[in-house]
């Protein structure tokens, strides 16, 4: 190849490049989103809602970013992600059977695998974002944190599948349930007024990460408001030996332990307590609980007994067989669309999360705008998210500033044989401290 033809080729390439620049490809959705914002205000009710990515005028497509596979992702998927997504799906199946949102717009879910990894999660997001109007579910704190700036840019709303209090402050997110901090506050407070007292030794055993911090923050707040000091706060790195921490709890004669763990560590912690002959009132936050701990036949008998005798779970919601309308509806939907579904707290969460999305979409339809910006606006028009007793109602008001996190937690005891292994001790329990708690900005 001689010099002349090389020069020709280079020239051609550059010309081609400039041509494409002028014609434009790339991120069309950003431009659509931008255009949509400008026209949102002029829309009015009654007419067909404005379309946008993920809404073609008949079907609303929602995204689910959840682990489906991966080294850690698989475990999270099996125990949490899969039942939660199934909860989303069963809810929408029942709504679609009645015509869909506002009786006419069917909803479909598009799931992308995050492998419980922020990098993969971002790619999952980029993969489906152009197809969806909003994110029904984003699971995993690190995955969601990496996604937050993009949600803002793309004007996409998302349902967080973790209970960090900070989600309340993000206008793109619509949390639905009591935060970890409040679960801690209420859990300890319930103990003080039911069997324990302020003079007992109250301690914390927490995972050393963001979730653990949230639990400890709540415990500190409750201690300050109720007027006692935490005897000791023990932390552990996930999947490490907990002998030293449990021994410390024992040495401090802790009567009650707020247990801020995930289900990966619950068994090891309790087995260590049994090994060290240590008995206390364990108040576990909901992520530490898995129904199969007491359901499966091969589980270790001493472990089961210990849980039944010593553990409470501070969570939200009610007994699986509760007569509240929210659960009646859920059980009916399960019977119809997922008859094999076992009672599962994460399924219930996913079901209610879809219910919240439904309420937001209804508002969007009423506003005549099912574009992303329209859905984002609808969050502020929903007023209060209502769950018919399945969860405490969540006051949203007109902006993130007016959102008020629900304060009640439900305290369960553990009973093998009942659905989810959970039996309500006190439904929707709210402590004095919980009413004044404000999540840090």
């Amino acid at each position: 190849m001689n010099q002349k033809s090389v020069a020709k080729l280079v020239g051609l390439a550059v010309v081609a490049a400039l041509f494409v620049v002028a014609c434009g490809g790339g991120d069309k959705t950003a431009s659509n989103a931008a255009k949509n914002t400008t026209t949102t205000k002029s829309s009015n009710a009654g007419k067909a809602p404005k379309t946008g990515p993920g809404f073609d005028g008949t079907t609303i497509k929602l995204g689910v970013i959840t682990p489906q596979s991966g080294a850690i992702g698989k475990i999270v998927a099996d125990d949490i992600g899969t039942p939660m997504t199934s909860g989303n799906q069963v809810y929408w199946d029942s709504v679609n059977a009645n015509g869909g949102v506002a009786g006419k717009y069917k909803v479909s879910l598009e799931t992308a695998d995050s492998q419980y990894d922020a990098t993969v999660g971002l790619q999952a997001y980029d993969k489906i974002k152009n197809d969806v109007a909003a994110m029904q579910q984003v699971l995993g704190t690190q995955v969601l944190q990496a996604m937050q700036p993009k949600l803002k840019t793309d004007q996409i709303s998302a349902g967080p599948a973790t209970l960090d209090a900070e989600w309340t402050n993000d206008p793109n997110l619509f949390p639905i349930a009591t935060s970890y901090q409040l679960l801690s506050i209420n859990g300890i407070d319930y103990y003080i007024h039911n069997g324990g007292s302020k003079t007992k030794n109250i301690c914390v055993l927490a995972q050393d990460d963001a979730y653990g911090e949230a639990g400890v923050q709540g415990a500190n707040y409750e201690a300050q408001k109720a007027g006692f000091t935490l005897k000791t706060v023990q932390r552990y790195a996930t999947l490490t030996d907990k002998t030293a921490q449990i021994q410390a709890l024992k040495d401090n004669s802790c009567d009650a332990v707020l247990f801020v763990a995930t289900l990966a560590d619950t068994k090891a912690a309790i087995q260590t307590a049994i090994q060290l002959n240590y008995t206390a009132r364990w108040i576990a936050l909901s992520p530490a609980w898995l129904p199969s701990f007491v359901a499966s036949s091969e589980s270790d008998a001493s472990f089961k007994t210990y849980l039944e005798q010593n553990m409470w779970v501070s969570s939200t919601g009610v007994d699986w067989n509760s007569p509240v309308p929210g659960y009646v509806q859920m059980r009916a939907a399960i019977a119809k669309y997922a008859p094999t579904q076992q009672p599962d707290p994460y399924f219930a969460y996913g079901f209610q999360q879809a219910r919240a999305m439904d309420q937001i979409l209804e508002v969007a339809v009423k506003n005549g705008d099912l574009s992303r910006a329209g859905i984002l606006n609808a969050i502020n028009g929903v007023g209060t998210l209502k769950f018919d007793g399945a969860l405490p109602d969540f006051f949203y008001g007109t902006s993130v500033a007016t959102r008020k996190q629900p304060t009640p937690a439900t305290i369960f005891s553990i009973v093998a044989g009942v659905p989810q292994g959970l039996k309500t001790l006190s439904a929707n329990y709210t402590s004095a401290a919980a009413k004044t708690f404000k999540p840090a900005g």
């Binding site: 390439a13 400039l18 620049v21 959705t29 799931t111 695998d113 690190q142 993009k150 911090e213």
Partner: protein, 393 residues
């Protein structure tokens, strides 16, 4: 072999080596683009660089941005491992160090006590911090070889995540820290790149980052290439091939082993800055900046080619693109369900690594070089058929 040492000048039939002829040849040989085909290649790459972000979907732009970041870090690691022969599992640590330095300096002052500095400042700072830490890590390398060094760098990786987690001012501890948001150089905002007003709407963040990251891939590749084609690069390779002999010809092991760590760590930290910009929020733990990430970098240089510059970039694109390709085509691969995709990706990744090491230990570039050497040997060295191949060793 015939007469070895310079025979008497009169007996020499050919012309004596003429200085200017030799000089011209030297000039030709050390050129970056010695033949026209290299220029064509460069032009094609330039065209691709300009065009790709305009036509790529967000997903593929994302994948290529990440591949570019891996290429930068991989270039640094290749200098250390491929050229200087010092195996390290610590690359992810430098990515973390770079990312958090950038975060602390670059995030806004009202976000976790950030310092709100511009891109150029936090980029340079991260490079300097990476170089300084690299110096400290390089010191033990003077005494440790092979397996020991691998384990010590693994330990360094764990220590780094620990220190970062404890240093709450910088990393915000367990909660993690947001990375700097905007990237502005002069008046160009790479997160919303408007191609000099030629489009009615600016490009997306992924596409903007593509332009930013890949220009740095090119700069890094050029700098690394310059190092390896000049005196320090030869010294590094000498250390790799025979360290005691290298020392005897005058190569200071201290300067070059530690130097390799310094340069490679600085480049790793630079990759970290871009990783931060890409991921936007980072928590200092094993999951985000751990062994998996380090192995990823090693895989890039193995698959692309140990001890080559362009191979590293090719390797980064292969390793970066493969999972997404598998994911995109997972519907067409029988027996592959949503829950086994990542296991399948893992198997393909591991097999790629193992098979490359077994069949083509010098990776993609090795295959290319093997082809070239075969030609070379045929023309240059008759009678050396029994000797070992150039690409083994």
């Amino acid at each position: 072999m015939a007469s070895t040492l310079a025979p008497p000048p009169a007996a020499d039939a050919t012309d004596p080596p003429n200085r200017s002829v030799l000089e011209a040849r030297a000039r030709r040989e050390i050129r970056l683009f010695p033949t026209p085909s290299y220029w064509v290649g460069a032009a094609v790459l330039l065209a691709l660089y300009l065009v790709l972000p305009l036509v790529l979907s967000d997903l593929w732009a994302n994948v290529l941005v990440l591949a570019g970041i891996t290429a930068i870090g991989g270039l640094g690691l290749n200098l250390l491992t491929g050229y200087a022969g010092q195996a390290s599992l610590g690359t992810a640590a430098f990515v973390g160090i770079g990312a958090f330095t950038a975060s602390y300096l670059g995030r806004a002052t009202d976000v976790n006590n950030g310092l709100g500095q511009p891109f150029v400042v936090y980029l340079i700072a991260a490079i300097l911090v990476g170089a300084a830490v690299g110096f400290l890590v390089g010191l033990p390398a003077l005494r440790l070889r092979g397996s020991y060094l691998v384990i010590v760098t693994l330990g360094f990786l764990f220590v780094t995540t620990y220190v970062l987690t404890q240093w709450k001012t910088v990393s915000n501890g367990n909660l993690g820290a947001p990375m700097p948001v905007g990237v502005q150089i002069g008046s160009i905002d790479f997160t919303s790149f408007d191609v000099f007003g030629m489009r009615d709407t600016p490009l997306g963040r992924n596409q903007g980052l593509f332009y930013l990251v890949w220009i740095f891939v090119a700069i890094t590749a050029l700098l690394v290439k310059n190092i390896v084609r000049s005196r320090p690069g030869r010294a590094l390779q000498a250390v790799r091939d025979r360290d005691v002999a290298a020392e005897i010809v005058g190569v200071s092991l201290f300067r070059y082993k530690v130097g390799a760590f310094v340069v490679s760590s600085a480049i790793g930290a630079m990759a970290g800055v871009f990783y931060g910009l890409y991921i936007q929020y980072l928590t200092p733990n094993q999951q985000s900046i751990g062994l998996t990430l380090s192995v990823q970098f090693l895989a890039v240089i193995i698959v692309g080619g140990i001890g080559t510059v362009y191979g590293t970039v090719v390797g980064a694109v292969i390793i970066g693109g493969l999972p997404t390709i598998i994911n995109e085509f997972s519907n067409h691969i029988p027996y592959l369900t949503a829950s086994t995709v990542s296991a399948f990706q893992g198997i393909v990744f591991a097999l790629l690594l193992v098979v490359t090491l077994l069949l083509e230990p010098w990776g993609f570039a090795g295959a290319v070089r093997r082809f070239k050497t075969r030609k070379l040997r045929r023309t240059m060295v008759p009678g050396s058929a029994g000797s070992t191949g150039a690409t083994t060793g």
